[in-house]
């Protein structure tokens, strides 16, 4: 079973729908026992960073505990941004600090939000991108982005006038800035890869 952390925020349902579609046993929950039994956790999110981290509340500890115990954790969009140490969206906010780095506004020289399909170069050694080839398009919708500062993190980039980090992997921590649940077949494959790695580590 995979648990999507329930913290009453947008797009939770879409993420659950996508996991169900690939035949994954998925549960929407923030109950400590259920989270404890999960093979892996998913942290979704579409909202401002500060709002999301506040809504996450006490469930933040559950995510940190699971991460420390070696359970795979997948952050999506703002859920991915929350994996980092801090964000400057509408004032400074602390993140979960599972990956070193900070979240900042996209440069004003670009069209903001970064919204639409963009091509991501896929490093061969990132688990989420198994069997997806060298590059694929994914659906993005965001105005802030993470600048990873973790020498142990593997990073996949997309081109948005500069090399924009689109996904990270550090030990058992995974994150994608794009929306795999809205990225068609290739997006479903990313979720399938996460589900597979959760099962193989169990």
């Amino acid at each position: 079973m995979i648990v999507v952390i329930d913290y009453n925020i947008g797009n939770v349902r879409s993420v659950c729908n996508a996991f169900r579609h690939i035949g994954c046993d998925i549960r929407l929950s923030r109950d400590p026992d259920t989270v404890g039994r999960a093979l892996g956790l998913v942290l979704p999110g579409v909202a401002a960073f500060g709002y999301a981290i506040e809504a996450l509340g006490s469930a933040a500890e559950l995510v940190k505990q699971a991460a420390a115990a070696g359970k795979p954790v997948l952050g999506i969009c703002v859920g991915y941004q929350m994996l980092f140490e801090e964000s400057s969206e509408y004032g400074p906010h602390q993140g979960l600090g599972l990956v070193k780095g900070k979240v900042v506004a996209l440069p004003a020289a670009q069209v903001v939000p970064h919204m639409g399909w963009n091509r991501v170069d896929l490093p061969g050694d990132m688990d989420l991108f198994s069997d997806l080839g060298e590059s694929r398009h994914f659906y993005f919708a965001h105005s802030y982005y993470a600048q990873p500062g973790d020498e142990r993190a593997k990073i996949a980039y997309t081109d948005y006038g500069f090399a924009l980090p689109a996904a990270i992997q550090k030990d058992n921590i995974y994150g994608v800035q794009f929306h795999p649940e809205k990225s068609g077949r290739q997006g479903l494959k990313v979720l399938q890869n996460f589900y597979d790695l959760c099962r193989s580590r169990a």
Partner: protein, 268 residues
């Protein structure tokens, strides 16, 4: 970044692909398609058709409730929930949307974006309220445009599924929509709709030059070159089509390969 083409410049939203968007007009839980908004023909089940497009490479979908009566509202929310379980690309829902509450309900049911049309003409503040509450990216201003018979080179905004012309000028209304907070313009030429004779690229160009938000060209797609022309001549960021894809004339992949081979960035 911009490129000089035969008839002017078009903005390139850096590296983002041009989008192919099948449009599903829904009436009594069936997809239908007509000519110039009339003579409807059945094109199948909305959820099934949507799932097929999601699986075969469409970039987005638009569902328009063309009954849009009070009774059909509940039906459309149910449909959106079922669509969300089977469609894994972004989708927009529109048709008869009157209020911020209705927009909220549709977004919660799984739509990424909601389009407003007649209600926004009657109450432009609806765009601003929705943009502030849900973000600009969730609000699509749909405009049904008809060539003015009295003012050449101008288009009239029509409301109530195109049945009622207004005094609004399409280009001015699109610019006002952007100011109010719309994130995108869905621009339908009523003259071209369903004719398969090509998009109205004079219209598309006039509007895309007047706004900085993406313009989705709609109405008239009949062959693959029409799609290319809407993007290059018309300046559209996305092309919407119904007849040529619902009835099997072209697959999504054929459209994308054609546009890619002619040099446009596509999600393939």
């Amino acid at each position: 970044m911009s490129f000089k083409l035969q008839t002017g410049t078009f903005k390139l939203f850096v590296m983002l692909t041009k989008r192919i968007i099948p449009c599903l007009d829904v009436k009594d839980n069936r997809v239908v398609k007509g000519i110039n908004f009339l003579n409807l023909r059945d094109a199948g089940d909305p959820v099934e058709l949507g799932a097929r497009y999601s699986d075969t490479g469409a970039d987005e979908l638009v569902f328009l409730d063309i009954t849009a009566t009070i009774r059909s509202r509940k039906t459309i929310v149910d449909m959106v929930e079922r669509v969300a379980k089977n469609v894994f690309i972004p989708f927009t829902v529109g048709g008869g949307v009157q209020s911020v509450e209705q927009i909220d309900e549709l977004l919660r049911s799984g739509a990424e974006k909601v389009s407003v049309n007649t209600a926004a003409v009657q109450n432009p503040n609806l765009i601003a309220e929705a943009a502030q509450r849900f973000g600009n990216q969730c609000v699509v201003l749909a405009i049904d445009a008809r060539r003015s018979k009295t003012r050449p080179g101008h288009w009239q905004v029509c409301v109530k599924a195109g049945s009622e012309p207004t005094d609004l000028d399409v280009v001015e209304w699109a610019a006002r929509g952007e100011e109010l907070g719309a994130g995108e313009i869905l621009l339908t030429s009523m003259d071209a709709d369903g004719t398969l004779a090509g998009y109205d690229n004079e219209l598309n160009r006039a509007v895309s030059d007047a706004v900085n938000i993406p313009v989705i060209a709609s109405g008239g797609a009949g062959n693959l070159d029409h799609l290319y022309d809407a993007i290059t001549l018309g300046g559209a960021d996305a092309v919407l089509m119904a007849s040529i894809t619902h009835f099997g004339d072209f697959t999504i992949t054929q459209m994308k390969e054609h546009l890619r081979d002619r040099g446009l960035p596509m999600n393939l």
